[in-house]
Symmetry: C2
Subunit: 415 residues, 2 copies
Amino acid sequence: MKANNPRLTSWIPVPENSDFPIQNIPFGVAKFGKKTFVATRIGNTIIDLHKIAKLGYFDVDAEVFNSQKLNKMMLLGKLFTRQVRNEISDIFNSENKEAQANAKIQEALYSVDEVVMLMPVRVGDYTDFYSSEQHAYNVGCMFRDPNNALLPNWKYIPVGYHGRSSSIVVSGTPIHRPKGQQKPNDNEPPVFGPCKLLDFELEMAFVTYKGKPLGKSISTKEAEDYIFGMCLFNDWSARDIQKWEYVPLGPFLAKNFASSISPWIVTLDALEPFRVAGPVQDPKVFEYLEYEGNKHIDIKLQVAIQPEKTTEKVVSNSNYKYMYWNMNQQLAHHTINGCNINAGDMMASGTISGNDENAYGSMLEISWKGTKSVKMNDGTERKFIQDNDTVIMRGYAEKDGVRVGFGEVVTKVLA
Amino acid sequence: MKANNPRLTSWIPVPENSDFPIQNIPFGVAKFGKKTFVATRIGNTIIDLHKIAKLGYFDVDAEVFNSQKLNKMMLLGKLFTRQVRNEISDIFNSENKEAQANAKIQEALYSVDEVVMLMPVRVGDYTDFYSSEQHAYNVGCMFRDPNNALLPNWKYIPVGYHGRSSSIVVSGTPIHRPKGQQKPNDNEPPVFGPCKLLDFELEMAFVTYKGKPLGKSISTKEAEDYIFGMCLFNDWSARDIQKWEYVPLGPFLAKNFASSISPWIVTLDALEPFRVAGPVQDPKVFEYLEYEGNKHIDIKLQVAIQPEKTTEKVVSNSNYKYMYWNMNQQLAHHTINGCNINAGDMMASGTISGNDENAYGSMLEISWKGTKSVKMNDGTERKFIQDNDTVIMRGYAEKDGVRVGFGEVVTKVLA
């Protein structure tokens, strides 16, 4: 991918440690005044791709970028996205003095402070996997048997379940603490009220292109042709509601009150340089889950909690490479029964926890079921998330001096 | 509702035992030649509502009915649907000789054989409840303990889970037997192959209007303002895949390969005359689940299996009134945590089983986990659904000589 060349620089300034060098070129939807458009970002500059398209650069009807969602663009498929990304790379690279001097191109640029980032995708179906071994192990230890922490199906199946797409919101959207039924005491009837054990889950999600017709499967080898890109995903969870409701059909109200995503979809192409090997899978997986090559990705992930009146406190440093099942396997599994996928479907990883305690991806694990607490910078303590806390997730990959990142997903919890 | 008047008759012929008298006026999407339009049906006549709207009857831009889905119309809300239904009732009732003589109106009529019915709704999120007590009891008896068949949360929570919307198909669409992992022997590793225990689930679903913003709840009292109408729903289930995958996060590939619906959405208004009281709920439910009045509906339901080379065999006669939790409670529960709903969301009932063995709504229950079989008319036996079998579900309500029905959902299973 020529757009990935680590030697490229842009004539748009890119601050040190920016997640958005010219090697990234993510896609999102921005609003400037009353106009909403498909956008990309270099450094702290937002680029209106509708305006760029109207200059004839992308060899497609510019209306594709005159949209409130990326879905229309995604319907044109992976090769189109790749072409657009390469074209953007050409326009904005340092050697293109002509583009830099082009007033029409300059008119398509905004400062990041001038625009509001919107929900980038109209999500059709949303699926949440459960693919980090350490997370599944931790949950098994806490709620079942430490000696048999992983359920018997876990190493055979990339376990997943369907979630709610209507309540997926973009970074910056505050969420409300959910109400619901809980059963704090085993020997007493359930009670109703605000959730007391509100938690984040540090996840990443991928967004799909349109897949095959109902009845057809996507192999691990084909999977990447159907994946547009990735974002950070905070799978908000009400632990007390979850505990009482989830048997036998899985989490429902404990999850569907809100999930939060970062506004930029970073393409799989941009993440290609950061591929790493995954864990050895033992027992051997079924043939439809076998894969070749490096299909995991080294993405450093961080979660911080910011109480209302103090600075943030980092509570987790994890990594997307800790996944047991990779995206190729998840998508192959999801479609092995003939289930169809559409442009804009979102599939989240499940909580990403590393072996180290500092790499746990939820307060449930960090506080070990509420048995220990984390001290904030104002001296208050957290076992779970309190009203008016803001949870911030960040993620980036880095190699050969190039850092490709996701920005942040920032969410304040209202009472 | 004046359109419900049992004395009304239509100048369009309505055969005896038709599900579609002038008191029904359901909504669907039909295709005639290359044109797709929003339609209703009286007797065996399909009415092109786009053409009727262009005559100025509905006081709205006719383009609302020039659509491949009902969603655009649903966005106009309940009062608009009600107005349209009353208007159609006026145009087609026997006393309206003028309309009958109007050539423009006659041009909007097609025979049911001339059109193809399409998927009526673009489903946003799909939720499946588990609200029939007898079904939950039967499953509990088979897989857990007959003395504690209902799980502790069942009478407190209208248990539900999220399903897959992309694979919901309309009656007439054949489905493929899914492949997947199964674990037939407890002491041996899982195997991979075509599902051996393919089952239907007799359900009904309701379709919603746009709800409140994220963070707000819909009360049981308000629920009907947000419900557009109902259809028959066959929640296809692969029992062997389900058993191996569903712990701890619920059914996934066992369900998401396909669900089948009947093509007509019968409005809640049309079903109003058939309301009946629900069961006494003990223990008392939480306040947000309390309701007043008759909120259950007496809808006779039937399932038949038709093997490839013989006549159909009826295997179940159930009724929607057997539900423990009604739609008002389901919707109030779904939103009590602030979860938002959109126009076109679909919420299914869960398998509807009556107390009587003849009223069980799945082969799992009818064959009691495969321990007994049902004889077909060609002498072959069924414990589950075989390749090339066609499953047919029907439903109608009847009172005061008026029968309001759903037609059929007919689905052939391919190898």
